[in-house]
């Protein structure tokens, strides 16, 4: 073997090793969670409220709570996020003000989630008097998700070739028709990816919901947007740290359900992406 060939093989080997180092911990964690939790998973675990100081029964209210929070967060953040990104990319003039906003958006996505939690507490819970409620929680999570959705949408829009806009405009389309029919359809996969990414994060975070919506123990389902709910990540935190003599398998089973939920969301986005690719029209 020639020297170049040997060096290439060494380089490839190293890269493979590094990749393994990244992937292995994830696989191990997943395996650990599944192996320890699968035994406690049952229909009752998923469909029953907790009993006996949460040491028995299921996690149904927490699943419903997290589901409500995800849907509410999406309803609030997706339209606002996508529209602001469209404004920033397609309409805003490239001046100092726009550049400042873009910079702010990028930096906001790096802020620790506890800061969003405190922001939600001050503004939504106290100032707007929403109390600890689904509304306050969803708004807090939406604020946290916005930067990621805006950034993803912005990048997706910017990656659509300028020539697509040019043809459309040259045929006499308005700016909005151009965005609607010649730009957005091509950006949707990117937007979906960003949305699912940010919603996955919203689903798994404890800090933003801690003071704004999450209930320690609330076995009944919420009756209005001003109710508190239980949520999977907070429930997991509670049963892992606050409840003595908690069977470990229940914690792992809860984690397993949370991971499955996030996985499900990714699956839906993959299906949607494929669907949009097929159904693109005029």
């Amino acid at each position: 073997m020639s020297g170049a060939r040997v060096r290439q093989n060494i380089a490839f080997g190293l890269m493979g090793l590094v990749t393994m180092l990244v992937v292995l911990p994830i696989i191990l964690t997943l395996w650990y969670v599944v192996a320890n939790g699968i035994g406690a998973i049952s229909l009752d675990f998923i469909l029953q409220p907790p009993r006996n100081g949460m040491r028995e029964g299921g996690i149904f209210p927490a699943i419903v709570g997290t589901f409500i929070l995800i849907v509410g967060t999406m309803i609030l953040s997706l339209p606002i996020g996508v529209l602001s990104a469209i404004y920033l990319v397609e309409y805003a003039k490239d001046n100092l003000f726009t550049r400042l906003i873009k910079l702010a958006v990028v930096n906001l996505s790096g802020i620790p989630s506890i800061v969003y939690g405190l922001f939600g507490l001050t503004v939504f819970v106290v100032l707007l008097r929403l109390g600890t409620s689904i509304l306050a929680g969803c708004m807090t999570l939406a604020i946290m998700s916005l930067p990621v959705i805006i950034t993803a949408t912005k990048e997706a829009l910017e990656s659509v070739p300028a020539s697509y806009r040019e043809i459309s405009l040259s045929l006499g389309a308005t700016k909005w028709q151009t965005v609607r029919h010649c730009v957005l359809p091509y950006a949707i996969p990117g937007i979906l990816t960003g949305t699912v990414l940010s919603l996955s994060r919203a689903a798994g975070e404890t800090a933003p919901i801690l003071f704004t919506v999450a209930a320690f123990y609330l076995p009944r389902l919420p009756r209005s947007l001003f109710d508190q709910v239980m949520a999977l990540p907070y429930h997991l935190y509670v049963i892992s740290t606050q409840v003595p003599n908690m069977p470990l398998s229940l914690s792992f089973a809860t984690a397993f359900v949370l991971i499955s939920l996030v996985f499900l969301m990714n699956l839906v986005s993959i299906i949607l992406r494929a669907h949009y690719r097929r159904k693109r029209q005029w």
Binding site: K93, D94, S163, Y164, R165, E166, I167, S168, L169, S170, L171, G172, A173, T174, Q177, H181, C182, Y186, R280, Q281, W282
Partner: protein
């Protein structure tokens, strides 16, 4: 040349990209229902001039235009100009065949929908058929209108781009080097098509290819460094140029 009917008249036209003076004091008249070619070395402003006629330069930030362009006597260089109506009337075909990543049918439907021109499946299909017939594509494509336009040959794609413009019933068609991505045979056939289209449309074509200008056009303008150096009938410009620069360019001394 004196009795020709004028479709587009540019007067004292100046265009700046920031500080760069890209078009300088252009006086230019485009004859109606004829093919006018714009030739000149790379970077002399041919595309820029062409894109003034449908105001596509508006997309370029800090591009500034002064002077006047009248199409059928109507001022184009004016903030009040209805760009949608203008671009429907003055269609544009680009250098690269830039069909939408959609079916042939939807490529043509786009403009019809944008301008709400026809409705009803039958009438839409009839219009699309008419458009494809205009560019000689109907027989080839009538059985596969739902096929993605990107799967067509480059020549077919460029014809489809022309059909996409023609179907909006424009009066002027601007073409910016429409054949530069095509092989010689396809180029000939597109030129043939342009000769047919000039019966109904005023055509302005930018080309790098002097033989093409000589073959296809009735009038020729020669541009150099942002100025329109010479304009006349194609036979006059090619056989008896008035300006030394034109003569040197046409005889291939620079390019």
């Amino acid at each position: 040349m004196d009795q020709m009917a004028v479709k587009i008249r540019a007067k004292d036209l100046n265009l700046f990209y920031g500080d760069f003076h890209a078009l300088q004091d252009i006086q230019f008249s485009v004859p109606e229902k004829a093919i006018t070619a714009l030739i000149g070395p790379s970077g002399c402003g041919k595309s820029t001039l062409l894109r003034c006629f449908n105001r596509m330069n508006d997309l370029v930030e800090n591009c500034r235009i002064t002077g006047s362009i009248r199409i059928d006597g109507q001022e184009v260089v004016d903030d009040r100009t209805d760009l949608i109506a203008l671009r429907k009337k003055v269609g544009m075909v680009f250098q690269r065949p830039n069909v939408f990543d959609l079916s042939i049918y939807n490529n043509l439907l786009f403009g019809l929908r944008i301008h709400r021109m026809v409705s009803g499946k039958d009438r839409i299909l009839a219009t699309i058929r008419w458009g494809l017939e205009q560019v000689g594509l109907w027989d080839e494509l009538k059985d596969r209108l739902n096929q993605n336009a990107r799967t067509l040959t480059l020549e077919q794609q460029q014809r489809l781009c022309i059909a996409r413009v023609v179907i909006l019933r424009p009066e002027v068609i601007l073409l910016d080097e429409p054949c530069s991505a095509l092989d010689p045979i396809a180029t000939m056939r597109i030129e043939e098509l342009l000769r047919e289209l000039k019966r109904d449309y005023t055509i302005v074509i930018v080309t790098h290819n002097m033989q093409q200008a000589a073959r296809v056009s009735d009038y020729t303008g020669f541009m150099y460094l942002g100025r329109l150096i010479e304009f006349g009938t194609t036979s006059q410009v090619f056989t008896n140029p008035r300006d030394r620069l034109t003569e040197n360019y046409i005889s291939g001394q620079f390019g």
